[in-house]
């Protein structure tokens, strides 16, 4: 039984980023359809990764690769911790480390766009990390920091917190209005400019792991004692959130970095605060 659970966890750790890859494929397809195009097949992200791996490596200096690899491993560790039912906070910080490693990778390539991209990625971190952190603390306040102990009810007690995860995901999915760090038309996909071939694939997969972790957070909001309902509900919730981000992407222009930070630190942080306050008031009233 124990072994079985262990195997299941390992499976989830492997499958979750793959699911994210698929989700990104679905995202591209839906986006294309919203733009009245046919769009790529849903497995396109996997083709891309496969293609990238088959390219001949080309790099500026080895630090880039070290940091891309580090990003991947840290993100994987964060996800592993999450799946193993570990401490959410630790997982969050580890995942943050992965994000920082990518920034370092961008900086270490001495290239103008990559440098500006790194700076912007830091700004993005400044924007989304507090919100993510607060969301996790709110989850910790409501349930537990241990994923395995959280249980249900978050959707009802922390709906606004779930809402704040949407802009976080918008940033992480590199979607407008907050695709500031990778802004294609300004800084040519920013931190990724100097990555190519297999190294780009590594950086990309690292991002998948990171997204898997954040989507994991989203799925925590749904819980049911029936495992089938639970899993179905979690997936449905994740899809709904993904769909909302896609819609947002398609009806907005990219905003500037200042607006991004301001929005996240006021609206994002504010929503968490309001949620906690309401919760407090309701609890006081009820008991």
């Amino acid at each position: 039984m124990d072994l079985l659970a262990y195997v299941a966890q390992v499976l989830i750790i492997i499958l979750a980023p793959l699911a994210v890859g698929l989700a990104l494929g679905v995202d591209r397809k839906i986006t294309a359809r919203m733009q009245n195009r046919r769009g790529p097949p849903v497995v396109q992200p996997f083709y891309d990764i496969g293609k990238l791996l088959a390219k001949r490596p080309l790099l500026l200096n080895s630090f880039q690769v070290v940091f891309a690899g580090a990003a991947l491993l840290f993100q994987a560790a964060a996800l592993a911790l999450f799946v193993a039912g570990g401490d959410l906070l630790v997982a969050f910080f580890v995942s943050g480390t992965g994000a920082v490693c990518l920034v370092m990778g961008a900086f270490s390539a001495r290239s103008p766009y990559s440098y500006v991209g790194g700076q912007r990625e830091l700004v993005a971190i400044l924007a989304y990390e507090p919100v993510l952190f607060l969301a996790i603390l709110a989850i910790g306040l409501e349930g537990s920091f241990l994923v395995s102990d959280i249980g249900g009810g978050l959707l009802y007690s922390l709906p606004l917190v779930l809402l704040t995860l949407v802009p976080v995901l918008v940033i992480l999915l590199e979607k407008s209005p907050f695709d500031v760090p990778t802004a294609h038309q300004e800084i040519m996909s920013g931190p990724y400019v100097e990555y190519s071939g297999p190294y780009l694939a590594i950086a990309e997969v690292a991002r998948w792991f990171q997204l898997a972790f954040v989507f994991g957070l989203v799925t925590l909001f749904f819980w049911s004692s029936d495992p089938v309902v639970s899993i179905a509900g979690k997936l449905a919730l994740a899809f709904v959130v993904l769909f909302v981000t896609i819609v947002i992407d398609n009806i907005t222009a990219r905003l500037t970095r200042g607006r991004m930070v301001r929005f996240m630190l006021t609206a994002g942080v504010g929503l968490v605060a309001i949620n906690l306050l309401l919760l407090f008031v309701v609890r006081q009233g009820v008991f």
Partner: protein
Amino acid sequence: MSVGEVLAVILFLVPIIGAAVVMAVQRRQATVGTVASISVVLVLASVGLLLYLASSSFEVLVIEAQDLYPLGPVLIAADLLLTGVFVLIGWRLRSVLIAGAAAINLLLTIWLAFRTDFAETGPAMVIDNLALIMVLITSIVGSIIAIYALRYMREDPRQPQFFAATLLFLGGMNAAVLSNDLLWLFLFWDVTTLCSFLLIGHTGTEAARSAARRALIITLGGATAFIVAAALALENYGSMSLQDFPVTGLDGLALMPLALLAVAAFTKSALLPFQSWLLGAMVAPTPVSALLHSATMVNLGVYLLLRLSPSIVSATSINWLVSLVGGASFLASTILAMTQSNAKRVLAWSTVGNLGLIAMCVGVSTPLAITAGIILLFYHSISKALMFLSVGAAKEHLGSEDIEDMQGMRTTMPFVSAALFIGVITIVLPPFGMFASKWLISSAATTFPLLIFLLGIGFAGLVVFYFKWIGNVLSAGPVSERVTLRTDPLPRMYKWTLGALMVGAVGLSVLIGPVLRYLIEPFIALHFALPIESNDLSLFTSSGTFPVFVFLLLTGIIFLGLAFIVRPGKEEISKPYASGEEFEQEFETRGIYFTTEATVAQGIKLSEGAGILLVAALIAVPLLLEVI
């Protein structure tokens, strides 16, 4: 006298004697010899003290005043003398504030001495684990900095003065943390004030002098708060022994000593609104900054808070104010650090932030938070010293402390870059020591939901300003030859000191389990229920686990392994993308600082205002409670 007592006395007396020797001989060679040998003595003595305490399974070592016999009266005399000196300094500097504060201190000290019949009201010294940790930090990190300074200050014409002050500083610091009696503590508190004044003003330039003066004003103001608190403690609790501070039933005016001591601690630790002296102190030579920021001075403030934590915990009407001052300092300083491009200023703000965090931990008042605070204090000093000394080394080579000028340092100064990198990752990233405390604080802060908002933004800001800097250091183009750490044009003395700190920062992070179990928990256990367990591989709290070892291993594998595997030369090296243009020569970059000088000044004013309000509230609350 037991071995422990002897060691304790060595720890503070030897450096003070050393200072006298250095002043007397006035020759470089003698200075080097003295400083080096005293450093060795300090390191050995502090480790010896650790071993001694460990042998008695960390029982608290109490040293009565009569054991130290002629010392007591001498010290009281010294106390009066020193306060007198401050009056004189105030006179010389034509500063009413300094002279006035010093005069009040002098009068109160005399009055207190008479009140207590020139005797102590409790044990003179108490060596528990908190004191032990502080002694270890001061002695070992302080010694390393002193040795580093031997090289750094080699061309300074007034070396004896400098090193005398440094040694005195270390001795005073050690004595301060060992002292239990408030009057003793007050003396050594003032010793550190004096030393910091001397060291900050050492270069004698206009900027240095005004910075020293400002430092003196603020810390002397703190000292006044301290001595008033001592007097009030004597009145209210009937004792000036820190041990005897009541841990229950504090209310009304009885809170006042605590509140005032907290304010005194804020001034020492340069928390808002008193941060300006520490920022101004940046004009001093780098070893001074390192000393102030990591081994001595600012630690004393938060040490006092931690020391008083059992009382503060029970003082529920003011502890939230303490935590707010800490939290506000943390948030404001991280935001301000993001706007700085001078490396030392960045570090200074981050020190303010970290100390704020420790103060916040004390204010949060859960055992978990206090544990977090001590961990933070311990690891912060090592990493901060490492970073300051690296900046000093970089400055010697680059001639600048600006982080923009450090661009590409990875290829020119790999050793220093590695030191900076390790300094940053041990401060910011998991799974190093500081991170453990971050994690604990985050868990602990949930009892105080307002603080989590400060923390959330603050942590993100921390990442931003540190990595902006280190990114600059690591940013370098392709290198045809492999750069090795050995090729760094760095004096051997720097390599050794930086190396020792690097090893310490990483090694102690690996050993966080034992550190927690043997160094920190005994202190916590004295006063609280143990909030955290460790099995050397992981840390556990009631709400979470942190598999330290797994992550350390992972990090090690990641950085060392990848750096080993990935070597340049195997792959095709290409030119950076520059829209098709050749861009080698013209390339220049500059980081983001978000705002302008004017806004920064405004921000500082704003946060100082908030700090003043909070501190005023801290003093007003006991009064109000008394009135009600």
